[in-house]
């Protein structure tokens, strides 16, 4: 029986097999290599069979010493393999089987002995292909009557080793393929993630994500709907691969509609369809009259689910093939990404709306408060004036009380003015009226008005005129803000105002020796409605520094701050001599 070891030696053969397997890491090449190495080295014919996904055994490669035999074996590839065939038994038992005394071909492989033709097979060895415990398939080695070769026990080590090496290579090929698929999947997820990261509105999320989602699963079309804030309807955000006239935004569907799209949004469960008929029926429910180019055979409705609710639905259709398990899991992952982005974009939109409403409210409130305040101020003012004119028409106590009321109304009016400034600046309506201004005179005037018994204000450097083109009233407002802050937070210690100038710039410095500002608060305090201290201890809206900075920057100047906790603060307004508007 062992006239077989003609050439080459088993060790050479195996070494060669390993090299070829390593060089050809795809399943098809490995299958072919097994067959070609076995024939004619130690068998007259060889059939490689693989267990496919549905569990059936399929012939994937063949080789025979004679060409007519090979043709016949190849022809039998489509025939079913009998349960009692040698390969089937090798597989079910998980070990090699030998048929040394060949009787009927049926016991070796398949149906009809005639198929194989003369010369008849006389012996056979079937070896299961097993890698890491998984049955990958089997290899059938045959000898035929004309070669005088018989396969038996002594051929098993070589047949098994060759098969084992092939199995390991196939397993590696599968792992490589899986790694590649994982990498592609990660890449696609990354692409979608990057695309939606910059989207600021739900519609931008859809426009950015859909082309990448479609590309990731090779889909012909993709569309995204958003569930509205009140969970009453679905709004089409965008579609990819749909005819232009269906793409128009504004398409909406009630959430309680009896169609798969709305059902998917309601129950948060994905839906998969295959077959051209089913898919075209579903497509027609997405948008009236929607027909896509070419028969769509794979379709999915995937809910966009966040932690708390379903925020939208993704629809994907593919031409030619159905959406397989890996497509589906990728789509679910992509849908999760879109859901997060959509949720974020909507929150952002809500936030922008809220800010806009706040600004509008502020503006309206300030305007509405003005008229009653005007009336009160006017009444108090004219009563006081009448009192002055005709001397003491009011009893002294009433006069004092009226004066106090007048002071408070003036403060109220100033606060209102600030609120109005905020809304004016926010709306971009801060208009400067530039004029030739003497900063020294302006500061002398201003400091004179700040004769506060609580704090002494010293002015330096304002002896000589410092002229430039500025908005005098706005500048007064800016310096007044700094001065009131210095007095407010100065702990009663003297406040210094210093003016200096060169040919290009004028600098106004307001310095106090009070509580100071912590490092972390320094940039924040220039924000709107911000303050470094607790509103419980210090009143105000927290808009003074913001307005000050806006005024200074409108005149192309800048504001600087030096401060430390307990060391007081120095604010510096630096202005170009010519504020170019």
């Amino acid at each position: 029986m062992s006239s077989l070891r003609r050439s080459p030696a088993p060790s050479t053969l195996l070494a060669y097999a390993s090299d070829v397997f390593a060089a050809a890491p795809d399943p098809e090449s490995i299958h072919g290599t097994i067959a070609k190495l076995a024939v004619p080295a130690f068998a007259d014919a060889c059939v490689v069979l693989r267990v496919s996904d549905d569990g059936a055994l399929r012939q994937v490669a063949t080789a025979a010493a004679r060409a007519d035999q090979e043709r016949r074996i190849a022809c039998s590839a489509r025939l079913p393999i009998a349960a009692d065939a040698l390969v089937a038994r090798a597989l079910s038992q998980g070990r090699s089987r030998i048929a040394a005394d060949l009787i009927s071909r049926r016991t070796i492989l398949l149906a009809d002995e005639e198929d194989f033709g003369p010369p008849t097979p006389v012996s056979a060895v079937a070896v299961p292909m097993i890698a890491r415990g998984a049955l990958l398939g089997a290899v059938l080695f045959l000898s035929t009557a004309d070669s005088g070769r018989f396969l038996g026990e002594s051929d098993l080590p070589l047949a098994e080793e060759l098969t084992r090496r092939a199995a390991v290579s196939l397993d590696n090929a599968r792992l490589l393929e899986e790694a590649r698929a994982t990498a592609t999947r990660l890449l696609n997820m990354q692409r979608v993630g990057a695309a939606v990261a910059l989207a600021r509105t739900p519609r931008e999320v859809a426009a950015a994500a859909l082309p990448h989602v479609a590309a990731a699963v090779n889909a012909a079309s993709a569309a995204l709907w958003m569930v509205d804030g009140e969970s009453r309807r679905l709004d089409l955000l965008d579609s990819h691969g749909w005819p232009e006239r269906f793409r128009a935004p504004g398409q909406r569907a009630p959430l309680d509609l009896d169609v798969p799209l709305a059902e998917c949004a309601r129950d948060g469960q994905p839906r998969w369809y295959s077959g051209a008929e089913d898919v075209s029926r579903i497509l027609a429910t997405l948008a009236p009259g929607l027909v896509l180019l070419g028969p769509q055979t794979g379709f999915g409705l995937i809910p966009l689910v966040t932690e708390s609710r379903t925020v939208g639905v993704l629809a994907v259709s593919r031409r030619g093939t159905r959406l397989e398990e890996d497509d589906r899991s990728l789509l679910l992952a992509l849908a999760a990404q879109c859901a997060t982005a959509l949720d974020r974009a909507r929150l952002l939109e809500d936030l922008r709306d809220a800010v806009r409403l706040r600004d509008e409210f502020l503006s309206i409130a300030a305007h509405e408060l003005r008229t009653p305040l005007s009336t009160i101020q006017l009444s108090i003012g004219s009563a006081l004036k009448a009192h002055e004119r005709s001397a003491e028409i009011l009893p002294e106590r009433a006069h004092q009380r009226l004066q106090r009321a007048g002071d408070q109304v003036r403060k109220l009016a100033e606060l209102l003015e600030r609120l109005l400034d905020v809304s004016r600046i926010t709306a971009g309506r801060l208009v400067l009226s530039l004029e030739e201004t003497d900063l020294a005179a302006t500061l002398r005037d201003l400091v004179g008005r700040h004769e506060d018994p609580a704090a002494r204000v010293a002015l330096e450097g304002a002896e000589n005129p410092v002229r430039g083109t500025w908005d005098r009233l706005r500048l007064e407002q800016a310096v007044t803000n700094l001065l009131s802050n210095a007095i407010k937070y100065g702990e009663g210690k003297p406040v210094h105002v210093r003016l200096s100038a060169d040919d290009n710039e004028a600098t106004i410095e307001v310095r106090d020796r009070g509580i100071g500002i912590a490092h972390d608060d320094r940039s924040r305090i220039f924000g709107r409605f911000e303050r470094a201290v607790s509103p419980r201890n210090f009143g105000g809206f927290g808009v003074g520094l913001w307005i000050t900075r806006e005024i200074v920057e409108a005149m192309h100047g800048r504001i600087e701050l030096e401060s430390g906790v307990g060391e007081g603060s120095t604010f510096r307004i630096v202005l170009p001599r010519e504020a170019l508007a």
Binding site: A366, S374, Q377, L378, S382, K385, R424
Partner: protein, 117 residues
Amino acid sequence: MTNDAGILLVEDDTDLREALAEFLADEGFGPVDTAANGAEALRKLHDGPPPGVILLDLMMPVMDGWAFRRAQLADSQLAPIPVVVLSAADSLPDVSASLRKPVDLDALSGVLRRLLA
């Protein structure tokens, strides 16, 4: 001061209108007539002698200050009457003066004295 011509005060808020009219009378700015909106003001201007100054609010129902000013300028009899705008935020181009609400009474007196001199 020649105050005979007087002032026409156009303001929709009743309290503010009355308080302002009282103040103007106290300050001796002659006869003060009032109107609650632009349309009423135009009627009074057509019916009576022209005032020395029109004090004009802008945001008003029926006919606002902008529309009133257009109608005034379109009428050659009324166009020369000086206008002082009293408004919360806005103003009009080419008027004699603009004062922000709440009105600074000294500033208002100063402007009126200048215009009625």
